[in-house]
Symmetry: C2
Subunit: 140 residues, 2 copies
């Protein structure tokens, strides 16, 4: 049986996940990549090195994050949050977000751990998705 999740249920699924699939539009083509993230007050926080994903989000800020919990083919939940990409540029805010990501994902690479010490390091871009819509489905 399929049923739609309420917005609270969908947000709960996203808040408990650690790996989501970020969907963005790159030159009129969909592009999907796995990311680690944190959900906090309807914003999804993450970070990335420069590259295709960031170029795409900068040029088309409408993005989504899909998160699922699959027990088996007949028992799963999937949620999707839609929102607007926004870079976090202030050094204090960058440090705060990277610190939280490091606390949640202690296996960040050494480069990323270093950036937490020195948020001015230009290479890693910290961003959030300001969520404006969340939906979800459950099969159980």
């Amino acid at each position: 049986m399929n049923r739609f999740l309420s917005e609270d249920e969908a947000l709960d699924l996203i808040s408990r996940g650690a790996v989501g699939r970020l969907g963005c539009i790159d030159q009129d083509e969909p592009y999907v990549v796995p990311i680690n993230y944190l959900l906090e007050e309807r914003s999804i926080y993450s970070h990335s090195l420069p590259g295709r994903k960031l170029d795409a989000m900068r040029s088309q800020p409408r993005v989504c994050l899909q998160v699922d919990l699959v027990d088996d083919d007949l028992h799963w939940r999937s949620a999707i949050a839609f929102g607007r990409f926004e870079e976090i540029r202030g050094q204090g805010a960058r440090q705060t977000v990277l610190g939280k990501l490091l606390a949640r994902f202690p296996r960040l690479t050494p480069v990323e751990s270093m950036i937490v010490q020195d948020a001015a390091a230009p290479d890693s871009i910290v961003f959030r998705i300001v969520v404006d819509r969340v939906t979800g489905v459950e099969e159980s």
Copy 2:
């Protein structure tokens, strides 16, 4: 260490996966959903009930499928296949594809199993993604 996968490595990862994340564009917004699929000769086969995902693919046939294998945050592979959505309408071809999907995913719902017996059942849409580009990354 990150490195790019060769096209053969990326296709191999996709062929061994069972759940992928389909990315499509729905009214200028990215949309991502998990699907079961089969890869055969550079085509990705799947099926779906009518709904948002199908509406999106019919109106914007450029789609992608992202597949990953995550051991932990520092050891993972991810591949993405880009291509063109194409519905499979012939009754024989529908039956063949649904039969293969059922063989691979024995836990298809009873409705879907019934459709394999009667591919004329109109509800389930069988489709493929004709892949024209594959990329991938590995962190290890």
